[in-house]
Each structure stands twice: as structure tokens, then as C-alpha cells.
Point group: none
Chain length 401, copies 2
């Protein structure tokens, strides 16, 4: 269902909707026949909430597809993650946890080697150690150009993310990277008039970088490619009239939330308890709250099964603080799965709980993969969950008489 | 999800995926409250595999739609069977188990009656007995024309399938059949330049047939209609980089598999055991195996409930030979349902099992219609199963960071 269709039905209400994302929530048993991380966790509060909820499994992008955090979040926020594909530069910036603004233009960068004639001899500068990359990044951060701010974050070895922030920057830009050795880096060209300013600034940045790196062989030049803004999605305010707030401590999630028009709240500290405190503090001011928990994914990607179990239990222990606020709708889900067994994101559908006093509850007093597989929501595209939450929040008018 | 989207994510892996199609697998109880064929069958091996799998019900074309074998196979092979509709001539050829090649142009044919002026007096030649049709078919098989090979297979009574095989044959061709009596057969016209050669050859064939049949009244002429190639689908190799093999003993299934780019393997014999032997023999050479079992459908279409039960049990007994090869992903499903009660294909969704060591198993130790209805895959379009298998085979890269 197109958000533009839902938009037509959006109607004001006094209800409050809370979306708790446990990043990488879905898991797998370590042994066949065993329990997953979520099934192993002692979660009396989530289990009690499950009994009064409807359960299901959400598919972030499509069957068999492993979602990155960007697309995974767009989906659970109600957008089609394939229609609103996040370009490579923006992905690179989000990937290093950069708080990408909706108008920022990001690019993937490489340190590279050029000869005396300026011809590229090694596109990866001999894969310089990450530490060297960090030192060179400091140098490039000294560049100041009127018209935009520049941010440069090291990714790994010769790789970095470059972000331009300023007014009127388009992202229809060609690469400087010739994608082969034996050629000189190319000028950035604007492919649309709106991108001309950005092209000029990017070329100026590259020229300054060239001068600063002149004696830093093998990393004596940079290459930029994949210029991209975060996709322009219609905001929650515009689509649904929602005053939406985001509570997240990592840049990437703050950036994605800001891009869909959420107000990103300050969190005093960086623990889940600190995030719940921020929720309590701002409870009166917003209609919709997105609260992001990172630890589950970190443990999953590190292969720490027990650590992921503990992260889930930590959130469970905080749930009474949320329920004490008497929210009208609570969603608990993930942006994708991250089984400790796989030490990575995975394609498995994500356990999802939807609570409202208006649900015809499944009566399943357990929050886990297999419990959710038995739930009445079935297996559903993640992007369909938000309209459902709006319905339960009585924020959608009747369609037709 | 478009296969072209999945294509972008395809990534090499060493995993092996096996798709076992029990043709017409889904069934019905003979009496209300009874068991289906699959539920009645003693299937200890499939039940044990089910316990370690995820289960669901696949819908080949759409809810309430009975799939033919062609569309049913295209769907479980991962293609949209409505987008890639199989034209009438190609369907006729497949329907008589002809091993249609991807470039073959097929047509539906009728023997008909014409008067001395060449005007059609009976489009069906008085519905000659099938035996007569077979004799006349032998006569027409003597026709040799430079530029193409011609194959002619009797369907029933006056009906036959004609296939032209050669280079550069298009299928944008008009019918010779005037679709009424009182008119002469029409010349085949090419509706596109690429089809001109095929039009010329078809007209030459009709002229030769007219001469050979001159004294065979009431079957003294032929009519051709519905010229069609198998739809041009992108191949498994092209889409997913899969080296795919097909193990099937009937022409139709071999033809469909070849059309999606599978290598059709030789089978020494025609029993399911012979097919499993072919699988074992070629195990090292391919990434993906499609193994087709015909007997289940034949029994279903004949109304032989017990025969279908036995055919399922025969496959169950062979499953240990497959599992001994340690496949990474196993799909067991059907191309459509064929309940013995109905003696025909039906619209019922098809029991489907997906095994991998990476599934979060449903723990349902039974493979049957009702067991699959409780499975975590839910009810899903058949075309979504292949991407899922690729995901479990770790053959798809992450989408976005």
C-alpha cells in the first residue's frame, strides 16, 4: 500500500504510538532444535505484553534478502526500501555511523597513488593501514571552502566517506574515480543544473586534497565515487500529520530518522535506560516515538549469543517504564535479523509484536521467533506494519462510505 | 520481487540447492474429515526433514487459480507465470510432452475438411478418431523443407501440435485457421520482420500438407493457429550465476527446464530411483538441481488416491540418498495440486518444505497439507520460494549497508 494512499486517510488523534527497534532482533539456535537468542532470553514483561498483542514475522525487503540497516529501517518506518534505494555514498556515510542530514551529499572516497603526471597508478594507495588513513583524514579535515561544510570519516584502510553539507547541493554528480589505473582522476560533472554548485565544491575539495597530499605517496591523491543524498522520502508530518521523535544514540539511526522528518531527541547517556528516560521526558510532546536499541545487533554481529540474550533482557526490564506511560500502540520489532550463529545480518524474517488495547489478541504469552510464527499477523512485509499501527492508533479515517 | 532485483544481489557460493517437484503434489481427502494423499502416505523421511525445516503453502499463479504444468513450473522456478505467459502453440506442444526448445515455434493444428474450391466445410474433419489422426500425422512427418525441422505430435482426434525448429524463427505469425467455415484457410503472415522466415516455412508446410492430404477427405487439409515460442525468460545462469541441472524423464518438464537455462541431464531409466541416481552421478558438477517426479500427478489425474499415496512413499524412501549428499538447501514442493478426488489439476495451494541448516525450524514433524498450513512460511506466492532458497544458500549479498 502506497504511503500516499494512507496519507489521504490520515486523521488527527490524541493517541501515542511507540516503535521499539531492537536492532538485528531475529536470531537462530546455535544447535539444531535449540532456542534462538530471543527465545533463550528471560523476558517476563515482553511475554506478558505478547499475550495481549498480535504477533507476526516481518520481511524487511523481500524473501531471502538480507537487509542493511538503512533499508531495514526505511521498511519498518513504512517506506518501500527498493523504491527508496539508498545510494552508495549515503550508505558509506551511514555505515560509519555518520549522522547524515537529509540534504547532505555523501561520496565514497579512496586514497590513491598518482604519478608525476597525475595519472592513477594504484586506486587503493597500496591499501594503506587504517591508522595511516586516519592521520591523512585529519589533514583533509583542515580544508575549508565557502558554500559547504565538509566531513570526512575513515572507513578502513584507504577508504573513507566524504560528506558535503550546505544549501542547494544536488547529488547528480559523476565520479572522479576513473575506475582503472593509467588515467588521471576525472573532474566531477553535474548531470543536472541543481547539482552544479555541488560539482564545483567537490572539484575544489579534490584540488585542495591533491595539494595537501602531494608528499604523502603512496596516498598522494583521492578518488570520489557514488555521490548520493539519502533518498527524498515524504516525512511523517507530511504523510500522517505525526509529530514523530527519534531516540537513538548512534549517528546512522539518528540520520535515517531525521531524513523521514523525525525530531531527533537528545539522550543523556548512551544506555537503553538512558533512552527510556529520554522517552519519559518527552512523552507529552510527540505522537510517535521511535526508540532504537543497538546492543542486540552488535552482539549478533560479534557472534556473542549470550550478549545478545542479555541485551534483550535489559530491554525487557525497561518495558514497565514504557507501559507506565500508557501508550496506545506499541510495536516491538527489528530492522533485520542478526543471528549470533552467522555473525552478520541475515535474511530471516523478524519477530514483531503489535500491542494496543484494541487488538484481538493472539493470546500467545511468549515473544520469540516460533511464537511469532504462530501469530495472527502471519509473515508480512515490514513496510505494512506502520499503517497497521496508525489504524490501531485510530489515526486513519474510513475508506469509502 | 523482480528477478532483476535479485540478480543485482546474486553472489557466488559453494552451496548446493535441490528442488524436488512432486508433480500435482497437493491433494484432498476423499471424505470430509479424512486425510489427503500426502497425509495418508507413510513418509518417515520427509516427516523427519519437516521437523528441521520451515513449512508453508505455495500459490502457483493466484488465489483460486488452477495452474497448468507450464505456469506452475515457471512459478516455482521463480518467474511470474502471468508476466511470462506461455502462448497457446507452446502449451499444446508441452501438453503432449514435447521437449520444446527455447527457439522452437509451435502451433496448434487441426485436420479439417475443405471442398473442391478449397473452402473449409468442417474445421474438425468430422472429429476423426485419434487413430486416424496418428496415421495422417505419420504422412505429414515425411515433409522436409530447407530451413527448419518440423515435428508433428497428435493430441487427440483431429488435433495435433506442430513445431518448427530452426535458426531465426519468430513467432509473430497470424493463424491459417479462418475460425469459421465458408472461408478458405488463410496464408500465414509475419507481424514482424523477424518472423518472415517462419511465415514462409509455415506456408510451405501447409501447401505440402494440402497436397499429401488431397485424397484423405474428411481430413483433407490442416489449419494452424496460436503460433508461439516458449516465453523468453532470463536464464538461471544470467540471473543468479547458477549452474542448474534438470532431472526429468518427460519431454514437457525437460523443455521448460531447458528454456530457463538448465542443463537437462540424461537419466538411465525412468523411475524415481533412476532420477535420484542421476542426481548422485552429477552432484559435483552443478549448484542447483531440479528433480521432477511425474507419478504423483498421473495418479491424481487418474483419480487413483492409493496410487498417489504410493508414488509419494516411493519418493520418501529415496530421500536418504539425497540427504546423504549433504545438500545446503532442499525444497520439496509441487507445481500445482492434483487431488485424486477431482481427477484433475486444482487451485489448492501446494505443500512446501524448505530445509537448510540455517532455518529457524518450525519443529512440525510432519509433511502434509495441514502441517504446512501451520508452518512459518504461511501462504506464499510460489515465485517467491526461489529467492528464499538462494538466501538460505547464502547466494545473495546484503541490500544496503
Amino acid at each position: 500500500m502506497d504511503p500516499k494512499f494512507v496519507q489521504r486517510l490520515a486523521t488527527p488523534a490524541q493517541t501515542k504510538i511507540v516503535l521499539i527497534i531492537l536492532d538485528g532482533l531475529g536470531g537462530l539456535p546455535l544447535e539444531p532444535g535449540g532456542k534462538t537468542e530471543l527465545e533463550s532470553a528471560r523476558t517476563p514483561n515482553l511475554d506478558a505484553l505478547a499475550a495481549r498483542s498480535v504477533l507476526g514475522l516481518t520481511v524487511p525487503v523481500g524473501p531471502g534478502i538480507t537487509a542493511g540497516s538503512g533499508p531495514g529501517h526505511l521498511a519498518i518506518f513504512g517506506y518501500d526500501p527498493i523504491e527508496y534505494e539508498i545510494g552508495r555514498g549515503a550508505l558509506e556515510a551511514l555505515g560509519v555511523d555518520f549522522e547524515l542530514g537529509p540534504d547532505d551529499v555523501a561520496a565514497r572516497g579512496n586514497f590513491c597513488s598518482v604519478d608525476a603526471a597525475g595519472v592513477v597508478t594504484d586506486r587503493r594507495a597500496g591499501r594503506i593501514p587504517t591508522g595511516v588513513g586516519r592521520e591523512l583524514a585529519k589533514l583533509l579535515r583542515t580544508i575549508r571552502i565557502d558554500g559547504a561544510e565538509f566531513f570526512l570519516e575513515t572507513v578502513k584502510e584507504h577508504r573513507f566517506a566524504l560528506v558535503m553539507r550546505g544549501d542547494g547541493l544536488g547529488d547528480a554528480l559523476t565520479d572522479t574515480d576513473p575506475h582503472t589505473t593509467g588515467l588521471a582522476p576525472q573532474e566531477v560533472r553535474a548531470l543536472a543544473p541543481e547539482s552544479e554548485k555541488a560539482a564545483r565544491l567537490a572539484n575544489e575539495f579534490v584540488e585542495r586534497a591533491r595539494r595537501l597530499l602531494a608528499d604523502k605517496h603512496p596516498a598522494n591523491m583521492i578518488l570520489l565515487r557514488g555521490f548520493a543524498r539519502f533518498p527524498r522520502v515524504p516525512s511523517y508530518q507530511e504523510l500522517y500529520g505525526l509529530r514523530a521523535a527519534a531516540i537513538a544514540v548512534h549517528g546512522m539511526y539518528r540520520g535515517v530518522a531525521r531524513s523521514v522528518g523525525m525530531t531527533v531527541l537528545d539522550v543523556d547517556g548512551d544506555t537503553p535506560a538512558d533512552e527510556f528516560a529520554a522517552l519519559e521526558k518527552s512523552w507529552g510532546e510527540f505522537d510517535f516515538f521511535y526508540l532504537h536499541i543497538k546492543k542486540t545487533d552488535t552482539a549478533g554481529e560479534d557472534g556473542r549469543f549470550a550478549g545478545k540474550v542479555r541485551a534483550i533482557e535489559e530491554v525487557d526490564a525497561l518495558m514497565p517504564r514504557l507501559m507506565a506511560l500508557a501508550p496506545d500502540v506499541v510495536l516491538v520489532s527489528g530492522d533485520h535479523s542478526s543471528p549470533a550463529l552467522l555473525r552478520s545480518h541475515s535474511w530471516h524474517p523478524v519477530p514483531t509484536l503489535l500491542y494496543s488495547r484494541l487488538v484481538c489478541s493472539d493470546g500467545i504469552a511468549e515473544f520469540g521467533e516460533r511464537a511469532c510464527a504462530r501469530g495472527s499477523l502471519g509473515v508480512l512485509p515490514a513496510k505494512t506494519v506502520l499503517p497497521m499501527a496508525l489504524g490501531f492508533g485510530q489515526r486513519l479515517a474510513k475508506f469509502g462510505a
